[in-house]
Symmetry: C2
Amino acid sequence: MKILLKIRFVGTNYAGYQVQNNAPTVQGELCRAAEQLFGGRCDVTGCSRTDSGVHANMFCAAVTNHGSNILETTVPTEKIPRAMNAFLPPDIAVISASEVEDGFHPRYDVKSKEYVYLIQNGGERDPFMADRCLFYPRSLDTDKMNEAAKKFVGEHDFAAYMAAGSKVESTVRTIYRASVTRDGGMIRFSVRGNGFLYNMVRIMTGTLIAVGGGRISPDQIPSITQSLDRKRAGSTAPACGLYLNDVEY
Amino acid sequence: MKILLKIRFVGTNYAGYQVQNNAPTVQGELCRAAEQLFGGRCDVTGCSRTDSGVHANMFCAAVTNHGSNILETTVPTEKIPRAMNAFLPPDIAVISASEVEDGFHPRYDVKSKEYVYLIQNGGERDPFMADRCLFYPRSLDTDKMNEAAKKFVGEHDFAAYMAAGSKVESTVRTIYRASVTRDGGMIRFSVRGNGFLYNMVRIMTGTLIAVGGGRISPDQIPSITQSLDRKRAGSTAPACGLYLNDVEY
């Protein structure tokens, strides 16, 4: 068998998910904790690469013995979260663990993912949300932002919302749901799709901020998308407001 | 005139509110920001001393010119929060500023203060709440905790809930309201009183945890209080779960 972990982490102190030399990463911490708990070398495979400073309310990763497709352990599956958490730093936690088939792949088998982007808009910046949202003091029209977000829904070529210079076979993705809501001073952009290009949610967010501020109208979104031109979309919103919120298999 | 600031801060990175040599403090940061904004030396007087690691959803502090009872400035009062925030670190923010009389004292004029203590009870530890609550995995009975909290209400000698070795003229305080509520896995102890002894809320919290775990019954609270004996009360809960939540003048 193989073990699939559901994880939450605060991304602030990490150079993203994926292991790098000379920088702390979430994968590196998970791997270290798994090796302390299970003994021997382990591989940890995540559901996605996340950038430096991006957070996860729910991230999925599989643990196996190094170079193997399975995990051999006597630790009961339901005890794994608490046991792993004893070896993990305070800003990463395993929420649950489940057994999956040997052939299961945490990235290739994803059906959809949901991202959330938080923008504090109104009032003074909240110190409890520092590095956990974008503080944007100028007034934003969330009705217009929501109207614009709906135009992302469907199967489209999202090249206009991909970081310049990224390489990928196809820039076509399907967005199933997208919405912008406001709760007091906090604006929440939620978007679910079958996959996302590099920086796609952050560029969508920058575009929605331009809509909320009146510089782009919601009706312009389809033509921006169709242009496939990165320069027509908004700027890339900072990583600190972005959360991987759900992963569906 | 004198300026009263309402402040929020995450206490994790500070050795408490009050200025100390060789340690970052909230007062030190406020003073430095005030001097950058208003020019010249400033005094900042807080509503309370808070311990290292304690947070504030609302803290009040007055700013004056050094050695004076007033603040001379051309900065319009309503512009002060945004302007101060530009000089403050991300984990401290001024929420609002108002003009108060020259004779106003932010500590002596307090009518009541409310503290909140957060306990995560159930599930795995939440990385987004690391250093912002106590993670207590064993099951706690919040009905019993609430019943016990109600016994704190009234004018009592709270010596049993004061850190051993503290010196104070009187250990009599009045608690106006106290309650324990649960929202999912998060337990919230709220207590409002006319004043609090050193570590009083944290010792009350430790006592309520003993009640929630069945080691002390709610009916024993009055006799623990009457004993004036610190050893009869529960242990001191860690600072990280404590928030100054409101200050009333």
